[in-house]
Chain length 331, copies 2
Amino acid sequence: MRKILLTGCSGFVARHYLDLLKDNNEDVKVLGVDIKPPAFVDRDFSDIFEYRSLNLLEKDEVEKLILNFGPTDVLHLAAFSSVKYSWEYPAECFQNNTSVFLSVVEAVRKLNGITGKSCRILSVGSSEIYGDVKEDMIPLKEDMEIHPLNPYAIAREAQEALSKVYAEHFDVDIILTRSFNHMGPGQDSRFVIPGFLDRIMALRLPLEGKGDRETVDEVVSGTIETGDVSIIRDFLDVRDVVRAYDILLKQGKPGEIYNICKGEGVSLREVIDVMGNLLNIKVTPEVNPEFVRPDDNHIIIGSPDKIFKDTGWKAEIPLEKTIQDMITERR
Amino acid sequence: MRKILLTGCSGFVARHYLDLLKDNNEDVKVLGVDIKPPAFVDRDFSDIFEYRSLNLLEKDEVEKLILNFGPTDVLHLAAFSSVKYSWEYPAECFQNNTSVFLSVVEAVRKLNGITGKSCRILSVGSSEIYGDVKEDMIPLKEDMEIHPLNPYAIAREAQEALSKVYAEHFDVDIILTRSFNHMGPGQDSRFVIPGFLDRIMALRLPLEGKGDRETVDEVVSGTIETGDVSIIRDFLDVRDVVRAYDILLKQGKPGEIYNICKGEGVSLREVIDVMGNLLNIKVTPEVNPEFVRPDDNHIIIGSPDKIFKDTGWKAEIPLEKTIQDMITERR
């Protein structure tokens, strides 16, 4: 039986990973750790999942828990992943990425020494690490030179470099991802895509007196404030992403870094249009210069060739379905 | 008047920096911080120097001290600089390099905001950052691609990357060094060169009964255990190094990284021969395979062109004088 340690278990992605395990009837035991407990209101995971409160910076506690649980796999989702806050709190960003990762890796190294087995760690990172991207580099491949541009990306770069030395010197089985923008039900509205959707759905609110929101088919129109909507990103559904994580835990190659991406670019304007079409709302984005981030790359598209070659994984869920499910969740 | 904050003030290099300031009769006030107080037994620095106990990980304390003192310059020597221990304590290595550096930079950023002036930070790093060096890369130049091979070097790489973003985004005036192997009086005998010297000088001890050690001119011979003595390094005198630090604080270009090196390679065997000649001892190195580090680069020589071009600094003290002064210190 697989025994999976799931860090950051109270986050948006962890919930979808548990859904996947449950849907697949996996014979698995998951120990989830986080600072705050998860809120699983609509599904019971208690047959496969147990929660333990843990601060990953307390490395003695991490070691105790890992030696005690004896995982076969670690899905390391815990991270300080906000670029914006990494500017305000760079030291915390390093602690909650690099130091936290080291707590886990060190404990797994000890565990391997005791059991003689090799526990696999999948450490989740971000396409943000590519940093300054020139258009002729698209699609981004894992072996390209990276140019991190903010403390978050630098912490991730350090994490990748540390993984390499741990893999080579201590034979620890670590796989890393560079996960591209992903979205789906349950995502916090502070992120750009769910934030758009909230504001677009709010455009219909003034009509509600006229009838049930579900049945309104009158086209409404309105504007929402945005940043630069011409920027292009490689958007994925979170459910494709967790499927990639599970396949990498089972079939990825030790020591490797994998892009998790679709390999297709969509502009923010197109995402807004999909939302508008599904909601029967004519949306006009109005650019507020305050929301335009000067450092943003215009285009970020990854190459999914490596993960496809090594595991057969590819993204399957179309953007329309992702957004429809996010709309349904909100209704 | 310059007001210099000196971190790591109780170390080997800091002492030589204070000697330089004093010898030059600099109009300067130095606030030294370290976890333990310095032991200046043979010279009084009290007219220019004051010590304050400080743990640089306590960032609120660091901020308070920096805002209160209002330095014009920071010479940031404090570091966790052992490659060996960085394998044993990688998390501590990151804390005591990257996090400590962030405490200082963050506080200086606030100070600049309050004073409207720009305090310069010179952050001292190591040639270790070059990592895996191929012989056709010699002499190493600052703009070459680096390949760090251990947690210490990775922490340094993160520090350089962070400096770049702080310089670009917050206009903080940071200069970084990649300092090559340096030695001189006062260096701890756990380092390779002073360790050799101790063991070579001990070869004469059995003769001491025959007369005063200073006047013995009989040639003695003996063996010392070593690692691979064919490896070549770019050795410098610590007094040249601190002169470079002072010149960089005065004339270096903001945001730049500088090699501090001689540009010449000397093998460990040659260093041992210089010691033997000065001491009239015929030394035979005996390689103990346990002391040979498999990851060591065979040859490390830097290019000092950039610092020479920007400041006119070059190393001046010959190896013989450095070793003679280390011998004199021991007698």
